[in-house]
Symmetry: C2
Subunit: 120 residues, 2 copies
DNA sequence: CTCGTAGTTTGACAGTTCTCGTACTACGGT
DNA sequence: ACCGTAGTACGAGAACTGTCAAACTACGAG
């Protein structure tokens, strides 16, 4: 994919879209998957960076990697390596600057829905 | 087919999800397509029901039909026939009841993005 | 009844998405 | 140096999506 990505030693860099590159459609699409919505909800809950392995998702590791990448590439989360772990955190500041109130509305909506459906 | 013979003419009935059936993921997915986001924006702008033919979308009629169906089946819009025309209107009330603030945030976000990009 | 306008249906196609399994790399601890 | 844990890359496959064209249905006006 990435041309000349001879990323041999150490430089485990992760590509993030710049603030101006974040598109609303991309963000909405990223959030429209149940698994990803769940990840984002937990991330918001904790208000801190979490390792991928923290989440106990009902999918394999490769699928997990995939979902985190979608979230990162759409600009919803920020990721960085920390030892062998990959930490993820919401890009709250950027999202709020670009689309004020959007993230909170979605988070609130997700909470309400969970309450309404899974509140068994 | 339920023989719900309404006084108003028309065996052309359109299926809409009940309020409790509307899912956040579905709504977000419906809104994550540029064409549909555009439709919703115009619908919100007009604050009234509009015929499909009002929209001058850069796609064929069948594609337009498809997008309107996705919006209706996800619970974002409400549709009914009126003569040969099919009128569409936002389900603002239902959406606000279910996910307070969500629609407005998305609309606002869409406006900001249009401003930021198209206002070049 | 006939015609035009508005929208639907169907089938097709290319592209994307979600998922998996297996093989792989990167780092830290012992 | 070795091993285990965390995550990645690479196919691959099934399902879904956005799009079109062409043939069709429904309604209103003459």
């Amino acid at each position: 994919m990435t041309p000349a990505t001879k990323s041999t030693a150490g430089s485990r860099t992760l590509e993030h879209p710049a603030l101006e590159e974040i598109r609303l459609e991309g963000v909405l699409h990223a959030l429209s998957d149940p698994m990803r919505l769940r990840i984002v909800t937990e991330l918001a809950c904790c208000e801190d960076e979490l390792a991928c392995s923290y989440f106990e998702l009902p999918v394999t590791k490769s699928t997990t990697t995939h979902h985190f990448r979608v979230l990162r590439e759409s600009g919803v989360i920020r990721q960085c390596y920390r030892g062998t772990a990959k930490m993820s955190g919401l890009r709250r500041d950027d999202l709020d600057a670009l689309f004020p109130g959007l993230l909170d509305s979605v988070l609130d909506a997700a909470a309400r829905q969970t309450d309404r459906l899974g509140g068994a």
